[in-house]
Point group: D2
Chain length 266, copies 4
């Protein structure tokens, strides 16, 4: 079992300059701490609360920027896909394709992502049980692509709230055989909680990340921004870049314990 | 306020023959009871639990069948769309476009559906609160299309279970100004409840439909099949065609009371 | 199947005068509409959010008042018990003993209530499934008392919110064989929702009551007050006495339909 | 911040011999690992699923046994109280009084427990939010007793299931100022899940305990038995005594990290 990987970056691809700055800053943090980094950003926010909300650079302008980040920083790059036809071009620009949680049951998208041969990170839908992910993973695997990760990001708990069930992490690991990612950012989202946008609870990102890492995960997903309060999306649940080192230090110490004492549920 | 409309039909478009038989049978039931009918069927089941599951005729073969049903029976026809590019061709074959619950936050799909000018029935996501639908409806309306219906189909309640919150019906009516539909079929779904497919509780379809109609709704959505136990999808929660008249009789009697005494929540 | 019974009254027993006025007013409403009335009030609010909150007259002062209400109005009277030793004296003053939802699993309380021989109305705990009530009812029946009613009052749904699952009504009817009561007042409670007291959504009392009656129940439980906004407890979810006739009119019309067309789930 | 305390013991007080054996065995485990132990057992299981279920020795026979355990092992002893009048006698036999989750809103019980002056461990009701515990704690504190602990044991999540929200641990710590206990045993209970008794998921006890300890708690509560599969109650969610050392070793390693890096949510 390998040490914890960090999947981090700003929620949205805001501009070429921002992406290059952010990726360099994160690379530096990761290198200092000796943690493996996958840079995450979205070229399109396709399911914002409102039609008027900012959606990011878009695929055409965004993919060259992602490719440039990859080349310049040497980081692996991850981004999400929303339609089957996006998968092939996205797979040329980035290393990991991500399936958004709302779309985790869309067969054609899963098949198209699988067919690129790239690793696929599937967010578990807010409406799915951990054991429901076995069928979801099988859809991608049916394309012959065995590089699948599954990602917990909270499950619906009443209205406008999610809860993170830590039992789900070993259940998914066992039932899918995939590396399990814990998305600490979206797990603290309060969907629709601010009327025309989603709220969040940034202060609980390290809380839930600690819990998940202590149980045992392959990677933590944490969106980050140099100024989260002014970020175009998911600001309330992103952590500041300069808060990362302290958070990661604790997570890495917990990860060492967890990897020395792996959980067994059978 | 108009009397109750019935949106009914088999979950999947199985074949041309099946569609014509079913639509004629339902038309007869509806005419006998004097209820307004919209015929519903899906040309593609795009989010089955497993990749191997049957998906229906597909768009290319299916749309001519839907157009034929419309012409032969004189019924309005409703079907669901899964990708933005499907909206325009589908709008030529049917009367009402439906947005699946999982996709109720996909901005491009909502815009494309709105742009057809056809009435759009939006299923509320299993992860959304009733008041979250105002933003969803606004996305469609931003295209200039004011013909929007919103549809309750249950909200996530623990794992593999949905619950129907009857408060949501007047909340959605008030906050969106749209006619409200109650989907009694999918509200009794047990998502993922049978391992590789979703379970259901057919016996509760009339229970929840009664409750919704008594509160006051514009339409009830009820999938139906001549032999639900052998239907290719959603069998466990479809009601038999020959059980419809008795169910509808009760619903129509409740609807008369409800429409005479409209609920007010403000 | 008998027509709908109404269980109504103010949440708390505020004073002798208030109880006599309220019970006469409700008796008048009930007689005018031809509905069977059980007068409900609590001599002790034993589980308020805060220790400082008003708890009502108490058992010693309260029981004679309840007995007087019974004698003067000729109404059946119902009140709740909180400790085993309260059951015997309470049973001398009132007609129906009620088990609070939080206490629905306390074996000694259920047994003591059963042993009085009085009818017992058991509120379903906010933490119980409908099918869990069969064991609860069996505890009372083990005393030889077969007069048991079960009462739905909402189930926990995320934090500080309840949801009413209308499937539970026929499930409880079938599995316990008891008359089923729907408590429309506490089903719209927002437990702890106002910081130091529970909030409520009075406007949804008639909404949920309609739904329950259309499915089919023996009785509706509705707390009421001549001035709910100034009531000492549960004000936010009590309806005004003068709003009752309109609400009941609709419920009685729905009840006639429901009783003519009883639901069957097996 | 002190190292982790362990609250452990068999669910029910089965017999004097069993209590003495178990407490000695646990004392030995605790001493070997250098962990502070509070011995837990219940003299009465007052809220079993069924009336017929075994309830334990009872208060009269049980209290002398608890006092003997305390004297012989030198352990602190904790037991739960169900009625106000039990508090004073129980306080003479044991060191810590525990309020069961179902009873966490019963004002008189909380006051009576507080008045003993003994430390009180309050289980958070399955129907309460973390922030609801501030009012609950205030009830005990109103007696002048400041020795209060609050205990997370899962919150209702759909039917027959609980979920543990790790955000609740620092919320309760901050809002009540009390030491926070995580009950890993009842958090994996499946209430009513076996028809006439509650089920459980023993394999997830260490999973949730790890998560809680990594977030930061004062104590972990873990019921244990030398032969859980034949225990009279809560067998499915108790861990075997001989599995404790390995579980505790991991928890203590995580606790060291957590106490070195305390969580801050404000």
């Amino acid at each position: 079992t390998r040490p914890l990987t960090l999947i981090a970056g700003p929620c949205a691809l805001e501009s070429r300059e921002h992406a290059l700055e952010m990726s360099h800053a994160l690379r530096e943090v990761a290198d200092t701490l000796g943690v493996n980094l996958i840079y995450k950003t979205s070229f399109d926010k396709a399911n914002r609360s409102r039609a008027e909300s900012d959606r990011g650079l878009g695929m055409k302008e965004g993919l060259p920027v992602l490719a440039e980040v990859r080349e310049r920083t040497g980081c692996l790059v991850l981004t999400d896909v929303h339609l089957p036809e996006q998968c092939a071009p996205v797979a040329e620009a980035v290393d990991v394709l991500q399936i958004p949680a709302f779309l985790s049951r869309q067969t054609d998208l899963l098949l198209a992502a699988g067919e690129t041969g790239r690793p696929v990170n599937i967010k578990k839908g807010q409406f799915l049980a951990p054991w429901d992910m076995a069928n979801v993973v099988d859809k991608v695997r049916s394309t012959g692509n065995a590089n699948v990760m599954v990602c917990e990001r909270g499950v619906s708990f009443g209205y406008n709230t999610l809860v993170s069930d830590m039992r789900g992490l070993p259940i998914m690991a066992e039932q899918t055989g995939c590396p399990v990612v814990f998305d600490a950012t979206h797990s603290v989202q309060q969907p629709g909680g601010q009327g025309t946008s989603s709220g969040g609870q940034r202060e609980f990102v390290p809380v839930l990340a600690r819990a998940a890492v202590a149980v045992g995960v392959a990677a933590v997903f944490m969106e980050t921004h140099e100024d989260p309060d002014h970020a175009p999306s998911d600001g309330p649940n992103m952590v500041a870049v300069n808060a990362l080192p302290e958070i990661l230090n604790t997570l890495l110490a917990l990860d060492r314990v967890a990897k020395d004492h792996p959980v067994r549920i059978t």
